[in-house]
Symmetry: C2
Subunit: 462 residues, 2 copies
Amino acid sequence: MLKKYLLLCFLMGSASSFLAQSTDKDAFFIKNIHNAALTQGKSYEWLTFLSTQVGARLSGSPQAAAAVEYTKQMLDTLNLDTVWLQPCIVPHWVRGEKEQISIVQSNTIGNIDLNGVALGSSIGTGKDGVAAEVIEVKSLEEVDQLGEKGIKGKIVFFNRPMDATQLNTFAAYGGAADQRVFGPIRAAKYGAVAAIVRSMTTRLDDVPHTGTTFYSETERNIPAVAISTNHAELLSQLLKKESIKIFIRTTCQHLSPKLSYNVIGELKGSEFPEEIILVGGHLDSWDLGQGAHDDGAGCVQAMDVLQIFKRLNYQPKRTIRCVLFMNEENGQAGAIAYRDSSVAKQEFHLAAIESDRGGFTPRGFSCEGDESIFEQRFKKILAWSDLLEPYELRFQKGGSGADISRLKPQKGLLFGFIPDSQRYFDYHHTDIDRIEAVNKRELALGVAAIASLVYLIDQYGL
Amino acid sequence: MLKKYLLLCFLMGSASSFLAQSTDKDAFFIKNIHNAALTQGKSYEWLTFLSTQVGARLSGSPQAAAAVEYTKQMLDTLNLDTVWLQPCIVPHWVRGEKEQISIVQSNTIGNIDLNGVALGSSIGTGKDGVAAEVIEVKSLEEVDQLGEKGIKGKIVFFNRPMDATQLNTFAAYGGAADQRVFGPIRAAKYGAVAAIVRSMTTRLDDVPHTGTTFYSETERNIPAVAISTNHAELLSQLLKKESIKIFIRTTCQHLSPKLSYNVIGELKGSEFPEEIILVGGHLDSWDLGQGAHDDGAGCVQAMDVLQIFKRLNYQPKRTIRCVLFMNEENGQAGAIAYRDSSVAKQEFHLAAIESDRGGFTPRGFSCEGDESIFEQRFKKILAWSDLLEPYELRFQKGGSGADISRLKPQKGLLFGFIPDSQRYFDYHHTDIDRIEAVNKRELALGVAAIASLVYLIDQYGL
């Protein structure tokens, strides 16, 4: 990667030309941003409240409403130019009673309960539950190969692990999550009665991970659960020796959609107010744990970027807007409402930065945009590398964020904030995604990283 | 930093010449090292035992003896060429009974106990304790300025915080730790009856941090304790309003020195056995918590480097030696014994790598060596940057490690393994430096980083 970077710099010569123009003022201001974030940041205090006093906040839940109210109140304290709520209609899925997932027939170990949770958007078994023989598969293709003959009447167990040898755990997640998202509906097609998915983590532990599974009003759906990796290993071992029957009881339901909101605050630009720089995260979380890393961290970081600019008396040239998107986890109604409203108002997002990979030590930003103008803009931001290198922040090409990627047609530059990824999937979508898993300094450095990038875009455009 | 790096590469032209020689085999082997460390590493399992079954292991303690025995047993399982214990005589300091540190005279808050611990190597107050008025200072110089007139008969409270705005927390530690190491003995010189030091951490919390303080058999010593940062803040606030008297009772003692050991294992080199590449950490810890990060992590990483090489059937050209140094925290008797023995045997350490900054995500290595040959060697290792860049590992100039730096006169290259530093001083020298604070993947990636560097040095020399 470094080699490519060197080549880029030297081929285009833009790094040195920018450095000639750039002044010590930028380095100084970026240092001030870091100092303020580390000593006067609000992100950890806000996240502590959001985690412990609001808690898990799935779309449509009372806690999601509380999260809207709390974050709006906090933005209201910052003396921004505008703070508002943007309505959206969100799905309202509820988990219901504590799930029961049990091995009920095994000569080796008798009956035991498995650590498991229903997958988000999945249907319930009903009160009586469902019991059936289990068949293990490692891929969607294997389901197709088995077909109705191999699948009908059974519980399909998707057990391809995340690849622990990937340095970037998001790549490992990307290589396994198809089982959770599309596995159950694929198994349903061939007559399976339920689906079990190995939890999405590289760890071997007892913590089940929820997450969305594809749900269709027009296709056959089946109850779907995730079990912990330790229990997935156990089940797989047992299946090598004997036929196993499992009982699943879940009472999840799809209730009527609810009115909810994106929470938005902005500082109006003094020179180019029509050029918007968005910083955002998503306000909803799954209904387990506290949604501290996913994505409370991203929300409080976006809010703290504005707090820091106000504290430093920074007058932006462009409009800097903090957007806390509702319903990223199961529908993205907030992102769609935001995009639709933005199109209707003929807005232009010069840049958007989403933080949705946890509140860990910053490593840089991934960057994407409309092909017609991407390379030119990417060169421009690479010329800022020397200003960000003291903070070990680097740019790479790649996806940005689920919410902001809908703004791509506006032809701005879209950034995903990249923190260290090693611990994220220990906590992702679980009961242990709690404030205790978040380090205050690491969270604050993320604020500083994002604010530094916003500052450079605001100063120099793209 | 990147800019400097570019300049270096291009001025000397060695990066490209190495790349031309280097083969895909190196990239492939380094990837294999990472795969093995992430999926077949032993470091976390060993660290779990060392933390939970051995526990804190201050030099001279029964647990230090257990740590010697356990790590030797584990090295014995690896089919190394040689495993041995190297004797050293260590100081034997004991904390004694739970410390009492209490505000006993305050009009504002009455009497309260402070969260505090005795500093390592400090003397005790005796059973009756000591009570005196407190005077706050921010530096050693301030003690000198106050002199006997301002200090005599008082308890001196050193309260200069670590600078939270430093990105590298070790730099912040370096800027504050003189108060702990030299503060008490300086205050003693002017007649103080005891010293209190603000804990060395950027956090505001209730956890006191121990650590060594300078002890002299020929100078006047006084009892010295550290209090938590929250209580340091409280005490400082109170002192702005009123005179405060504090009672301190500690029963620390210096007992007779004990026989202990460095634990050493090695793989003999096939081509250049006389060129030693050392990987190491220190086996002792402070007597609070479990010494998981400091420095259990470094020990199990060094051990796992050998385990990984054996697992990959790697036949080193040079001798690769794992050294677990005893007594780094309060005397470095192990490092001295090792150096003396090495000099007597006329050994040559081509390179030494110490891991003593916690088991966090790797960022690279700092590097130092004898001036006469350092720049030439540093250029050589920079030429490997492209092979390490995919793992985000970089070289910088700087200190290596307390134990290995004594080998500098042998004119080899000395490396400090550098992990992410943001969380280290949350745990350093405290009751919460426990296995729960260590992430398995982060620890294993450290093994892979160190093993990759050892591999390159072994293949290409310096």
